[in-house]
Amino acid sequence: MMQLPSSVRSPIGSLAIIALVVAAGAATFAYTAGWLSPNRLTPTKLVEAFAPPGGPALGHRRNHAKGICFTGVFEANGNGTALSRAGVFAQGQYPALGRLNLGTPNPDAADATVRVRGMGLQIATPNGETWRTAMIDAPVFAAATPQAFYGLLTALASKDPNAIKTYAAAHPGFAAFGAWAGSAPWTSSYAEDRFNGLNSFVFTDSSGGEHAVRWSLLPAAQPVAIPPDDLAKRGADFLEEEITQRVHGGPQRWTMIVTVANPGDPTADPTQAWPSDRRTVEVGTLIVQKIEPESDGPCRDINFDPTILPSGIRTSDDPFPAARSAAYAKSYDSRTAEAKDYPRQATEKKP
């Protein structure tokens, strides 16, 4: 076939090809960014699903918005080294920083009105590694997958009175959490609550062996059940006032236990508890020594992202830590940009 000498060819064709290449590049980028997929569950969508009808409380976490900071130490007893080579399990004391909180998007919620209580915790080790975890007092999570959880949030926000029933019927994973929420006793102190990591992670030991685990913090203080009606008569901030006084009187302790899954246990679904006969290892004690209000406290601008892990702990096939990480980052980026809406007391007091 005859080929035209290139100098004779019109540049129009070349320009069209160039335009096409650039447009294809831009379209691929737009697709990756999700701009062409309005149904994609983005971190923004998930975070917005927490917001009450009037919009989120600016400057605050988008969920677990009410909380109080603590500092102390994590005292590792060395038992955890059998499961994980993470430095945090080597016998010793490591600085701990955390936040006791309520599972509500409303930072002014009355303490007695919130069913779910939580604890965010950061433990730092001398080699510069950080472990962050955010736990709640429920024994199982409310949804089996992040998509299902988004569905639950949507149902909770729905005006349809049957929305929750419809959701529960379609999502059997909700039943165990629902039963807990309806019947579990309430305590009058964060110090009497057990906090559970719920998500599974993989521990790697020093010989490379891997163990699927979940962890919990068990209170040293004896839990005393108080009828919710009695708690409702207390002040809106009774939990924060109580823990402040209690820790002022002496450090409060929680024992960290690690539960090891048997092969075949559901590691990807936090609505399913593992059988109670599974091996547990006491790995150390969290000692809370000081309580500070969040507005000026050290936990204020800490994102308790559950994927911030030391070497020796990694995420498992549980899809939640990644989803939580994405959503927490979104919440963090939003609230740190709104700091003026949540002034620090120290600066506010200045004339």
Binding site: I18, V21, T336
Partner: protein, 188 residues
Amino acid sequence: MTLQSTTVHTRFTVAQRFIHWLMALCILAMLFIGVGMESTIEPKYHTLVSIHKPLGITILILVLIRLVLRLRDGAPPLPADMPPLMKLGAYLSHYAFYLLMIGMPLIGWAMLSAASYPVVLYGSLHLPPILPQSDSLHTLLWGAHYYLAFAFFALILLHLAAALFHAFVRRDGVFEAMASLQGDETAG
């Protein structure tokens, strides 16, 4: 115009061409990972974030090497018949590229530092913070990182269009200066 070495090259050196294409790959991956991870809550979010950080530091190291090569070996002169406005565009785009290639990883690192996130590269290998914790600095740097990423991608598309324009329309050797597979020229 900057000083040229006495030897006039028509192509970038092999080392320069190699690092250009290697970085092109890294940077494109980086930008796609960046917008991709911002759009999803699936498990790949965590995977993408875990790649984003060490890849960013890799790019920072590569661009520093590249800058040394550029200062040492220079660049082939642009064709004499190129319109002055196009020449200006070429120079400015190169400055913009270097600013972004150096700036973006540093902004990312500083942004994580200001948010008190550990900068984990791999396993227990991590970088120290380069800024104290600060909500206002984090907000500023986050905005810069986010918007400059789109500016970076736009610049790459412009660069691509210009390169293809040189290759298919002007056919002036500028495209071959970077895209050629041949070795270094030995004579000037």
